[in-house]
Symmetry: C2
Subunit: 396 residues, 2 copies
């Protein structure tokens, strides 16, 4: 029910001859189902999730990627698909995708928080490795080394000239040569920061281990095998409705786009566009331990933006240059979500009984830092969204 029409669809789409019908949807779903099965095979070959092998991590990511695209398309193009089948497979794929995502999420959260602790301690410039002192640092070093390098997890949107490198993927400064066994530099952390890091590591590693077990259990369950069988069927035959072959997909894609535009219009973008608006930390010390209610609309836009992207992929299968346009906006919202969850994890850790005041202080600084990351992500989203619209005015 948007009052204004936000034309986010690539104008080039209108130029393709004729309507895009159910056959395009079927082709897309078959391709994604094939992708899912390929990832599943790779996943089994590399020995299950979270064993630290890069292949397995990639496979899990590919599994989630195709699962998200299938569920997203089933949602947007619901009228073209057999309703019973669709209602049955959608929650199952969402369950699978969510279960597989958790382990990676805890891992990424820990990495984000440890990187922030390093940055907040002024350990921005990678120096020659210093000898680690204390069991905590040694433990942390070992754990960090066993973790695969996810360079994409570092906060990427902020133009921070002295941004801390990720502990696992710190580029060696020129001239120092490779240090293959160099542990992350924790020599100059305060006691509070080191203890906060150790506490977060303990809590998030525990959560990750649990998520790992849950994922392993899920992948061995009959529930999972039922989903896999359904996707295998989907790879060969898509249960379209009778009229799907002549139904135009574009109004449904436009509706998804409008839902996105409505949700974006409801965001406090004017505030977000003023840097340092101090909004994201407004409830930083609120007695309410629930997630910040102000984050919810942004999370919702993140999901709707993803649905819009997938809906567009169906329309422009193979020819998707315009997808690049939505990418930075989506990345900003991913960063928003990651920072919000990391901030909550820091606040949660600070509620651990019997921690030292110095630990709690460091966690407070860390929480505020991540909430400012949340605010920075909103600013980044506002910028690329407005820029996007401004640039598109002359072409429409």
């Amino acid at each position: 029910m948007a009052t204004r029409h936000h034309d986010l669809t690539d104008p080039a789409a209108a130029e393709t001859a004729g309507p895009v019908t159910g056959e395009a949807l079927a082709g897309y779903l078959r391709a994604q189902a094939t992708e899912f099965l390929r990832a599943l095979r790779l996943h089994r070959e590399t020995g299950g999730p979270g064993n630290g092998a890069g292949g397995s991590v990639d496979a899990a990511r590919a599994l989630r990627r195709s699962a998200r695209r299938i569920t997203g398309s089933l949602h947007t193009y619901r009228p073209l698909l057999d309703a019973d089948w669709s209602e049955e497979i959608r929650p199952e794929l969402a369950w699978l995708s969510g279960t597989l995502a958790l382990e990676h999420a805890y891992e990424a959260r820990l990495e984000r928080l440890l990187t922030a602790l390093q940055r907040l301690s002024g350990a921005a410039v990678p120096t020659l490795p210093e000898p680690l002192t204390g069991a905590t640092a040694a433990r942390a070093g070992t754990t960090l080394k066993s973790r695969p390098a996810h360079t994409t997890l570092a906060p990427s949107g902020a133009p921070a000239p002295a941004a801390a490198p990720t502990p696992t993927a710190a580029p060696a400064p020129p001239g120092t040569g490779p240090h293959p066994t160099a542990p992350p530099d924790r020599g100059n952390l305060t006691v509070g920061a080191a203890k906060a890091g150790a506490l977060l590591e303990r809590q998030l590693t525990l959560a990750r281990t649990r998520a790992h077990s849950t994922a392993l259990q899920a992948l061995g369950s009959s529930r999972f095998h039922a989903v896999a069988d359904k996707v295998a069927l989907l790879a060969s035959e898509v249960p379209l409705t009778a009229g799907a072959a002549t139904t135009d997909l574009r109004p449904l894609a436009a509706a998804a786009e409008e839902r996105l535009a409505d949700a974006v219009a409801a965001l406090p973008l004017v505030t977000a566009g003023h840097p340092y608006n101090a909004e994201a930390l407004v409830h930083g010390l609120s007695p309410d331990p629930a997630p910040h209610p102000q984050d919810a609309p942004w999370h919702q836009v993140r999901l709707l933006l993803r649905l819009h992207r997938y809906a567009r992929e169906v329309l422009h299968a193979g020819t998707e240059p315009a997808d690049v346009r939505l990418l930075p906006a989506g990345q900003a919202l991913d960063r928003h979500r990651d920072a919000a969850e990391a901030a909550a994890a820091a606040a949660q850790a600070a509620r651990t009984p019997r921690i030292a005041p110095a630990t709690a202080y460091a966690l407070g600084v860390l929480h505020a830092d991540q909430r400012h990351e949340v605010e920075a992500a909103r600013y980044a989203f506002q910028r690329c969204w407005q820029k996007d619209r401004q640039e598109r005015v002359p072409t429409s």
Copy 2:
């Protein structure tokens, strides 16, 4: 030794006929000395510093204001003044000004920190007064009420639509009517925030009380009477050098301007111009308890900007419309200093032995919040400085 010439001086200055000589300086110094004596009289009449009476606070501010202008002018236009006399009175005026400033600084710092704690607790919207619970809140309320309202102390530069009002000067929402005895709303502070507020209040009130005693002592000292006598003499006769009557002041003012331009050029303005650069908090958890070394160049620019302003006042006595241009830059740097000192006070309070983890956590959040205020102030300075230069290009 600036390589480029930053023409900050009002072009109108060049249009005034003839050189500005020592007589202008003498007139300025006489006027400031008279101002000083007037403020001193008012101060004695209103009963000494910091007794809570608005008149006394104003008088102390006026005293410092004229003392700063006299010392600043003596510094910039040194060659025109009797060297012995100048070297003697300058440190004495600086001592007086510094001694009088301390009490107000502690008061403003406490107010800034308590306001921030309110904001961080989500107590942004002034509601109907809630009953206060606990001795802490009651104590705090009483202390706050006894403090005069300094509306100018609230962070003013940030475009925060939901910015918290100062506890003492909260505008009543329309329709609720006046609440002359309404205590500040602390009903929804967490235990940690309330305890952090009480701790800061205790520590900064103690510091303020000590500063008050020191100021009282200073004003009764023979050292003070010697300064007052010197200023009284200055009000009638300025000890100029023999050649001062024919010496042009403008090269000396230009030199002060150049020192400012050089110091600004050394600032990391490119970084500061990128919002959310996360620079100001880089040493937020550093083991070094010293003030952030990165702040020093900004504090230096703040002083040089002030000297430049005073140097200009001497040149354009009475006709100073261009002063308005430098005002926002100076305000941003004042805010930078205030936030930096408030952040340090929060960090200092967190080192108090035997505090609860929740208190330390709140102080950590508060510290990070104030360091982000520091970063926001740098951004604000960069913006008005660049804007200033851009707008001036067509006129030069």
